[in-house]
Symmetry: C2
Subunit: 437 residues, 2 copies
């Protein structure tokens, strides 16, 4: 009877990161980390599993109901694999509220899980850069967060024309709905949810849903449309918007201009973020390429997030940037680099008797911070060189009888097709010079 | 009625990594990565969740029965959070068996989950460096893996006397049990399991269990004891051990001596690794400190691991090193470094009107790869300096009216208690010189 073999397929909606993919992931993370650290943000992490209660309160209904990975642990506790990082960071900050010097600047790149139908840019496991600034009750927090959000894409080589930031403020929607359209709070919430998914439904569906939610006002769709397309200059003509809110918005935009970000940022009242916890400015960054015209990432201000844990208030401003979205953006714009193995040196084994000497040569390079792939089985030279080529190694160190006798080595540079006999030390210096430069 | 607040406690057996702990974790990972990369190993990763079947076959019974985090996903699939990385790496390698150039040198630092009673060095979520070398049917694979395993601890500054490597071979136990003691295969397996937990039970319990498993042989305990304390020189006196096995072991030890690792490695037949998949050499590294005398990490050779997925054979040698165990070792030996914020520059805000200028100064430093924490709200100088001190910043850049007028900045070095007025460029160069050195 033939033995039944297991499938080598990974779990649906996840990715295996083979070395090539892992190099890319490490590259994406290291550029992101370098930029957020340059703003003084410190890295944190929490456990992959949290109590389900943590998500019930603030994470959107759709996620907790249909998309969360929850289960009962062997001790009978209701737990969940994190679908987002914000509840964890809120819990952690709340637990050390008195000790942490403020402002608190934190970031993390957790893996997050959602049970979704996998599709373009949508997976069950993805990684997300989370950046949060706590304790600043001033729009300078937004200035810093928006500047940082742009600098991340710039650091990947993104041209200024490749993306745009769209900014709105939660108060606008509230004031327009409650005071301008005179909706009841439940109606306002319903219509917000419709707007949030406006781009995913047809225009007719959209109109039908709005009319159903606001039965008394046949002009509602038209009024909402003119609100959604308002500019800063025309915002004062929208019914219900308070003077105070107009001022908050124009102050932010005038400072963004002075900071040199005026060309990157648009005011756009149609920005509606899905999570319930935003309370102030909200923003989304859009790819301008026609092939990938979608929201890359977004964030905003949330002023009550630790209210679940504490009676104290702490304001926060932050955003999340997913790795799949980022990778799609970089790919669309031809910004993904070639990440090879050219900094690793290969030492073929020409004779089993040379192994210990070769091991000692490898040790010298490794202590000199140069990676070495040392062949462990003697094989024909051609076979070993073909392995080195497949791996993309640039440097080869040959140890033959002559080299062993003279205490030298032959250094081959596969890129320039040159080779020379030199001392071990000279070979190390030669390789290090090229790697560093 | 008072609102019920959520607890800020994390899930039992896990850790919150606040920035100080995260810095330490990053330090541990970066040293480990630097060493394994210097041996030409490439990083990979797999998904956090796998099909439960993957673990049923080869992961030990105790883990799959009592310790695994398994559940049914929303699509009815039996899945598990990875309790170990070996099944994942075997699956991934098996899926690209024809494409991957051999040998395959891979590493990963996954987080792993086990439902355990949390205790010293035992948590429900921990990270583990996994190093694997596939495709080398020669004990030079063991030489490389053992040399790498030692180099990791050396890279953390561990003295040669702080740990020892104990090595055995799976064939010894099999040959001694089946040919020396004439046990049946089921008995041999039972006694192996008793030996594996020998250190966790009393001597009397141990004797009782052995007698029960080998009822016909009243000398069994004594015979086993003399096997367990055998040296390489006395191994030939142990009944049942084959010539071939003796030679394999003495060859490895003679090469280890020639490589300069003779003083680090002991032959010790009492080493028994828990996992069923080992087939050749097995090893464990022990802390020599009396305060922490326990196994730090271990590994060995497994020659049939991809057999679950494929009819082809591929030999592997590798080990796993947990972050909690490593950290305890470094702590015991006083090897944990101080990791501070001294490379970040602080810019206090002395007047709200100076903000945009301060932002521009921060931008200059950030583009020069120096991290800057820019104050976003003007406060009294004393309060801002006290924040900088709490955060451990060494450098402070002061922008007052004089500096703004002259386009200069005052650079304060809090370590040397000096300060000087200079141009922005000079200040940047000064800080960079110190950070790099």
């Amino acid at each position: 009877m033939k033995e039944q073999k297991l499938t080598t397929a990974n779990y649906k909606g996840t990715r295996d990161f083979f070395p090539d993919q892992m190099k890319l992931r490490n590259y994406l993370f290291s550029v992101m980390k370098q930029v957020v650290r340059s703003y003084g943000y410190e890295e944190y992490d929490g456990p992959m599993i949290e109590s389900l209660d943590l998500y019930r309160a603030k994470t959107g209904e759709e996620i907790v109901g249909k998309q969360i990975y929850n289960f009962i642990d062997k001790g009978g506790r209701e737990v969940a694999i994190r679908p987002e990082m914000t509840p964890t960071v809120a819990r952690m900050v709340a637990s050390k509220l008195r000790e942490l010097p403020r402002p608190i600047r934190w970031f993390s790149i957790p893996n997050l899980w959602r049970y979704e139908q996998p599709g373009h840019g949508r997976l069950r496991e993805h990684w997300q850069l989370n950046v949060d600034l706590f304790g600043v009750n001033h729009h300078r927090a937004e200035l810093e967060i928006l500047s940082l959000a742009c600098d991340i894409l710039f650091a990947f080589g993104a041209p200024r024309t490749s993306f745009r930031v769209k900014v709105s403020h939660r108060a606008l929607l509230d004031e327009f709905f409650l005071n301008g359209l005179n909706l009841k709070p439940e109606q306002a919430q319903e219509v917000s949810k419709i707007l949030d998914k406006k781009n995913k439904i047809t225009q007719d569906e959209y109109k039908a849903m709005v009319s159903k939610s606001i039965p008394g006002d046949s002009e509602a769709v038209t009024k909402i449309d003119s609100f959604l397309s308002a500019k800063i200059e025309t915002l004062s003509t929208i019914p219900g918007i308070k003077e105070e809110t107009l001022k908050i918005i124009s102050d932010l935009f005038s400072d963004l201009s002075e900071m040199g970000l005026g060309d990157m940022v648009d005011f756009d009242p149609s920005v509606v973020r899905g999570f319930d916890y935003y309370t102030g400015f909200i923003f989304e960054i859009f790819d301008t390429s026609p092939e990938n015209r979608r929201s890359l990432y977004g964030g905003g201000r949330y002023d009550n997030l630790i209210g679940l844990f504490s009676n104290e208030e702490l304001s926060g401003t932050g955003f999340g940037l997913g790795d799949v979205t980022l990778q799609n953006f970089l790919q669309t714009h031809g910004l993904l680099p070639n990440l090879g193995n050219e900094n690793t040196v290969f030492i073929p084994l020409l004779d089993d008797a040379f192994f210990l000497k070769a091991q000692s040569l490898a040790g010298k390079f490794r202590s000199g911070s140069v990676g070495v792939d040392l062949s462990l089985q003697s094989q024909k030279m051609g076979k070993q060189l073909s392995y080195a080529e497949k791996k993309g190694y640039r440097w080869i160190l040959l140890l033959g009888e002559d080299e062993l006798r003279d205490n030298t080595v032959t250094l081959k540079d596969m890129l320039n097709r040159t080779q020379e006999v030199c001392s071990w030390e000279q070979a190390l210096q030669k390789v290090k010079e090229v790697i560093v430069s």
